[in-house]
């Protein structure tokens, strides 16, 4: 595939590894914000092949992992209703709520359906005018344009039986929260490339200035990740803090303006609780008043929700980069992708799942990018 294989070239990867080794003189802690990058890093053994001085801290950018437990429980309650067709992206089905998951609701007779695109849920609402179709609208700035378009489309079609359970999260406020945490160790960021494809790079300039921290917009293929790391290290070694774009083929400084227009038409900024982390001010999107008719939370009174997290799971520490997944006592024992205790073990973008899938018991030489 064009634009994929070229960015997986092992010889070029070797050159980048060598170059990073050459320019690194001191220890540095760099956070990859996005779960897609975490996946790529673990899959290709990049963290193990880097000089020891460089530590990659896995960030909270896994949408499935940070969707608040309360929202998961609401989803479970709505999906259990007899007249509801509950539509979701596939990786939400195994996410543990307080008592069960969507998969369990489905096996108990709930009409839970996995869709590829939120527009599929709109189509279902058209086909089933006698049923309530609810879409689980979660994710970062990358999935938000799709979800916003689904709401607009339902509105255009005059569908009264379509609604969305919205729990969107935003990257820049999460970076602020990380930098302001008293335990923060992060000295530089790989910003999530596809989030910037939508939102542009300009949102990150104030963060670079306020926290004097290098932020490099980075892609997902092994060479993209290595180039992002190289550029962060170059800045750190020189004592510079700048906004840089190492993913120019997919990210324009202004982002996708058409998508931003629809986003601001449909959504407004709100405080949001992040699972395992807590409330981050102004860190999410909810439906604007004009579209409140499509808000599943308003449409279905789901009553008092008493949330209960697994007492064993330490995903909050994992999501904040304080604990590596395989340092959790339950990792690979009580907790596996088949029996996940936390959301970070469910999605392929979750750090625990990535560590499990790529057997972080195996030596670096045996994984991914060839030596």
């Amino acid at each position: 595939m064009k634009y994929l294989d070229e960015y997986r070239d092992p010889d070029l990867a070797q050159r980048l590894f060598a170059e990073i080794r050459r320019i690194t003189t001191r220890p540095w802690a760099i956070m990859e914000v996005c779960g897609g990058q975490t996946h790529s890093i673990i899959r290709n053994g990049i963290d193990q092949l880097l000089p020891e001085a460089i530590e990659l801290i896995h960030g909270p950018g896994c949408p499935v992992c940070v969707t608040p437990l309360e929202i998961i429980d609401k989803a479970l309650a709505i999906a259990s209703r007899p007249n509801v067709i509950f539509c979701s992206f596939g990786d939400m089905l195994r996410v543990p709520g307080s008592a069960k998951d969507l998969f369990r609701v489905k096996s108990e007779g709930g009409d839970v359906r996995v869709v590829y695109s939120p527009l599929d849920a709109v189509r279902l609402a058209q086909q089933h005018p006698d049923r309530e179709v609810v879409f689980f609208g979660i994710g970062f700035e990358t999935t938000a344009p799709a979800n916003a378009m689904a709401v607009l489309q339902a509105h255009r079609l005059g569908l009264r039986n379509f609604s969305m359970l919205v729990s969107h999260v935003l990257v820049p406020p999460a970076i602020s929260a990380i930098m302001e945490s008293p335990t923060n160790r992060v000295q530089g960021f790989l910003a999530a490339g596809h989030v910037c494809s939508v939102m542009g790079t300009w949102q990150y300039r104030p963060l670079v200035e306020r926290y004097h921290v290098p932020i490099v917009v980075t892609g997902f293929e092994p060479l993209d990740v290595l180039e992002g790391i190289r550029r962060v290290v170059l800045q750190l070694e020189a004592g510079r803090a700048e906004l840089d774009n190492a993913y120019e083929r997919a990210v324009r400084p202004e982002g996708n303006v058409a998508a931003q227009q629809v986003l601001s038409e449909v959504f407004e900024v709100t405080d949001r609780a992040w699972r395992g982390i807590g409330v981050i001010p102004q860190s999410g999107w909810r439906l604007r008043n004009a579209y409140r008719a499509y808000d599943a939370e308003a449409r279905f009174a789901v009553g008092d929700i008493q949330t209960r997290e697994s007492p064993i799971c330490r995903s909050g520490e994992v999501l904040q980069g304080m604990l590596k997944p395989n340092q959790c006592p339950a990792f690979g024992k009580e907790c596996t992708p088949r029996t996940p205790l936390g959301a970070t073990m469910v999605s392929s973008e979750g750090a625990c799942a990535a560590y499990y899938q790529y057997g972080r018991f195996i030596k670096a030489e045996e994984v991914g990018v060839a030596r």
Binding site: M1, K2, Y3, L4, E6, Y7, D9, D11, L12, Q14, R15, L16, A18, E19, R22, C34, G35, G36, H39, G61, C62, P63, V64, F89, G90, D91, Y116, S117, P118, L119, D120, G139, F140, T142, T143, P145, A146, M149, Q153, R156, L157, H194, S197, V198, F220, L223, E227, R230, A246, E248, R249, A250, V251, R252, N256, A258, A259, S347, S348, E349
Partner: protein
């Protein structure tokens, strides 16, 4: 869900007033919403998230980045061979 993948636009059509397209992901063709890329044309590459094309892949910068990677290695090799020559001398 967040793992966007590159694909090539093969066909553009309209569905209920929404700009849609057939996008080829290494042999697998899917229907993708192109509403957010009003300028994209058949043959262009794009990155798709949950059925929506969110950005066009720019061939020029893709090639420039690859050229940069090539030069990084070469520069390093040159430095090393220079150093080796100096040592030998």
């Amino acid at each position: 869900m967040c793992l966007g993948i590159p694909g090539q636009v093969k066909e553009i059509y309209d569905m209920n007033g929404i700009r849609m397209g057939k996008v080829d992901f290494n042999g697998i063709v899917k229907d993708v919403c192109l509403a957010y890329l009003p300028d994209i044309t058949v043959g262009d590459y794009t990155i798709v998230h949950v059925g929506f094309a969110i950005t066009r892949l720019d061939e020029q910068s893709a090639l420039e980045t690859l050229a940069l990677f090539q030069s990084i290695g070469l520069l390093d090799e040159e430095l090393r061979s220079n150093a080796a020559e100096e040592e030998a001398a």
